[in-house]
Amino acid sequence: MKYALLIYGDDAGWVDLPAEERARLRDQELPRWYALFEELNKADPNVLGDELAGRSAGKVVRIRDGERFVTDGPFSETKEYIGGLFTIELPDLDEAIRLASLIPAAESGSIEIRPILQ
């Protein structure tokens, strides 16, 4: 079964930090992300992942009665919003849960696992 691991987090505190502090925290956490990538690759060499730009970089498109409306994003009004995702082929949900729990962002945000329809 192919799954999407959707990474939800909140960058509110993050963007207020001084640049050096962000760089320091990022460097500190990078090895954990690289370890995760290795683990995901072991599970499925065709795993795909994308990190999305912050919420302020989003634009939302709607068509109503043939007219196009574009507003600033994000679409979701929830406190946490999607900041990245993986798609990965796995034997079962248990394995998806195990890998989701290794994503560093699971410790501050949430990982939503969704089967992919094919």
Binding site: A4, G58, K59, S76, E80, I97, S101, S110, R114
Partner: protein
């Protein structure tokens, strides 16, 4: 530049469609996906199962908390996405507007390139 087009729509609306209506919707998605392909902007995409089939994982301290259901109960849920390789945001927005769900739901376009200054880990 790579963009993701996140497709949000009302799941109840989809549930209420007949088989024929769903076939029509899928045909429209196939058509727009082929056009994206022909234009060389299509870099991937997936349809997600309903939020009814979602599982949410959080790690707090040493504990892994697993709950059935989506991260948040919302009226319009993420139902799928396209990855688009476009020259500009305007071009990505043009394509987003052609995704059928834009007509009743919403499509959020976000670059996948990240300013390291802003990135949250």
């Amino acid at each position: 530049m790579k963009y993701v087009a996140l497709i949000y729509s009302d799941e109840e609306r989809w549930d209420a469609l007949s088989e024929d209506e769903r076939r029509d919707v899928y045909a429209r998605y196939t058509a727009v996906a082929s056009e994206m392909q022909a234009a060389g902007v299509m870099a991937g995409g997936n349809e997600l199962a309903s939020t009814r089939d979602a599982t949410t994982v959080r790690v707090r301290g040493d504990e892994t908390l697993v709950t059935d259901g989506p991260y948040a109960e919302v009226k319009e849920a993420l139902g799928g996405f396209f990855l688009l390789e476009c020259e500009s945001e305007d071009e990505a927005l043009e394509w987003a507007a052609r995704i059928p769900a834009a007509e009743h739901g919403a499509v959020e376009v976000r670059p996948t390139h990240v300013d390291p200054e802003e990135v949250q880990l």
